[in-house]
């Protein structure tokens, strides 16, 4: 199975860095592949968060994951923000910088939500142009995550997986493939998640996300508040077969349990990775 085209390393298994785990991480130094940090939490602080992050980055590989790049917004790209992102990446020696295929606001406002894009030719052209400008500024490939979404635009002219694949190719960017998001969106929009996975260009995938969600009956919400459900593990296994081994991260952002619980949850991925490694051999 091919690696990603930039040779970004398979960091193994990691978790999102969260405040309630600081003492455990710095005190116990758990054996873990990497930490993913939420970019915006560190851009405008000179206090404890940065002090903690510096210590984490000294002992573990770090990747950055943002929520405000807004690559699909029709507002101009915010280069002042990107300058801070770039500086933080240099400070932490982040192996890659990721964000989402979404927009967060227009007319100078920020809703601080990851809003869905219509999957149209216009949207694609616009998003690709933004990604290219961002990558030129950051001087590295941007890695973008497929979103979980709760609505679809009637004017969309292609499925999400086609939009994502074409966007990645035309912008020459990387992908952070969120397996749970595919499951969530597939239920909400009524499509086949396996068809989605099979359409993803594996050589552009640099990282996977796994997470729990909340099933509301009529729809699924991407709450990151629970264990990963079996169907998502099955999808993860299928993704490994189609794409290959990549750095895999568990997100747990609400009702956060002790570090060991989160760590044990991501370690379940080892079984799937071992099986795939055996298959590949």
């Amino acid at each position: 199975m091919p690696d990603n085209r930039w040779g970004l390393p398979d960091l193994g298994l990691g978790v999102g860095l969260r405040t309630s785990h600081f003492a455990h991480i710095l005190g116990e130094r758990p054996k873990i592949g990497f930490f993913e940090v939420l970019t915006e939490n560190f851009l405008d602080t000179g206090g404890r968060p940065l002090f903690i992050l510096d210590q984490i980055a000294e002992h573990y590989p770090v990747v950055m994951h943002g929520v405000s790049m807004s690559v699909g917004s029709t507002d101009p790209v915010d280069f002042a923000y990107l300058a801070k992102v770039k500086a933080l990446a240099a400070r932490t020696r982040a192996l890659w910088i990721s964000d989402h295929v979404c927009w967060t606001g227009v007319l100078g406002r920020n809703t601080h939500d990851l809003l869905p894009l219509p999957y149209t030719e216009e949207s694609l052209r616009h998003t690709v142009a933004h990604i290219r400008a961002i990558q030129d500024f950051l001087e590295r490939p941007l890695v973008l995550e497929n979103p979980s979404t709760y609505l679809e635009f009637t004017p969309s002219s292609m499925p999400e997986w086609e939009f994502i694949a074409r966007m990645a190719a035309e912008a020459d960017c990387g992908l952070l493939f969120d397996v749970n998001n595919v499951f969530v969106s597939a239920f909400n929009h009524g499509y086949d998640p396996y068809a989605y996975i099979d359409a993803i260009p594996g050589d552009r995938v640099c990282q996977y996300h796994l997470a729990g969600h909340t099933h509301k009956g009529t729809h699924i919400l991407d709450t990151h508040s629970d264990h990963v459900v079996d169907p998502v593990w099955q999808l993860y296994g299928h993704t490994l077969r189609h794409v290959g081994l990549r750095a895999t991260l568990l997100e747990w952002d609400a009702d956060i349990p002790p570090f060991e619980v989160v760590h044990q949850e991501v370690l379940k991925a080892r079984t799937w990775r071992d099986a795939e490694a055996a298959n590949a051999a």
Binding site: L38, D113, P118, Y150, D222
Partner: protein, 318 residues
């Protein structure tokens, strides 16, 4: 004795939450028919991206129910409500409006959560419902225009003072104190004056010495004893009676912990003069004015020595 400020999880490290905050219940089935506006709307496939985004944002940030948001002037300018399905596809289980409502319902919750993290005592004093109403009003006037939620609450103290809420001045002062705590938490780290640097100053030089406070330093005066409200919130106790009594507080950071200290009037006068760049001798004289001779040296210099030891200053200019 300084008190350490215990900060909430979100305030310490996580205002930018990646996940979406959702209402506890399922999406409410709409019983309200959307009003039909008279304007001509584009046919399917002709929506420009900027127009779609303007419409969705207008709906999401509009207060009230989603039907009101879809029918609002800002949203209807982009899309006539009757033509909603030309833009939003219904799902196997939700109408177009119900799908939009998922995003609409999350917006205010996110704003409330962000401001709760920065203003926990204000939230405690007002209660859940009144605080949510305040946030609803506030973000209509001061919506986020930044990539970060950390600065969302910067205008809240002034907004409270300008508003017509009961005890507006008290709420304003409590918000000022909480904003100062946030600012001190996030301020740049700076080297602190060391005992060696202090000892190296010749005695005759002290009257002309100017002390520079660290960046993580805020000096505040209030017409209410706002620390009582802060403490009540921290202990989850009932709010004290709103009785006016002047108070003075310094908020600063020591080894990444935010501390606050209530000051006497002369102590405040000394710190204020030093922070403004006055030489130490002049600042002490100003602070000691009005005090009985015998108390001057004890009170002023004891306080000054403890502030230096606490790490409130970063440098001495001679």
């Amino acid at each position: 004795m300084p008190h350490e400020e215990q900060r909430s999880e979100a305030a310490v490290f996580g205002r930018q939450l990646k996940l979406r905050r959702h209402r506890a219940g399922a999406v409410r089935t709409s019983s309200l028919r959307l009003a039909v506006a008279g304007e001509t709307v584009p046919a399917q496939g002709q929506f420009a991206l900027d127009r779609m985004q303007r419409w969705l944002q207008a709906v999401i940030v509009h207060p009230g129910e989603v039907e009101e948001a879809i029918a609002s002037e800002e949203a209807a300018r982009e899309l006539a409500p009757a033509h909603l399905t030309d833009l939003i596809r219904p799902s196997h289980s939700l109408t177009a409006a119900e799908r939009v409502e998922i995003y609409h319902g999350m917006y205010l919750l996110r704003m409330v959560e962000a401001l709760e993290a920065d203003y926990p005592a204000l939230r405690h004093l007002l209660g859940e419902e009144a605080f949510a109403e305040l946030v609803d009003d506030y973000v209509r006037t001061f919506p986020s225009r930044s990539y970060t939620l950390n600065r969302l609450g910067d205008h809240l103290p002034q907004f409270l003072l300008d508003g017509a809420r009961p005890y507006a001045e008290l709420l304003h002062e409590l918000a000022r104190l909480e904003l100062a705590i946030t600012e001190v938490f996030d301020a740049d780290e700076a080297p602190v004056l060391t005992p060696e640097q202090v000892r190296a100053v010749a005695p005759e030089c002290w009257p002309e010495a100017r002390l520079r406070p660290i960046a993580a330093f805020r000096l505040l005066t209030f017409r209410y004893p706002v620390l009582r409200w802060l403490d009540a919130a921290r202990r989850d106790q009932a709010a004290p009676a709103p009785v006016r009594k002047g108070s003075r507080v310094v908020v600063y950071r020591q080894r990444y912990s935010v501390l606050r200290l209530e000051l006497s009037r002369p102590e405040h006068a000394l710190l204020e003069a030093l922070a403004a760049g006055s030489p130490l001798g002049e600042a002490v004289a100003m602070a000691a004015a009005g005090l009985r001779e015998r108390r001057r040296e004890d009170e002023i210099f004891k306080a000054f020595r403890s502030w230096v030891a606490e790490g409130m200053f970063s440098a001495i200019d001679l």
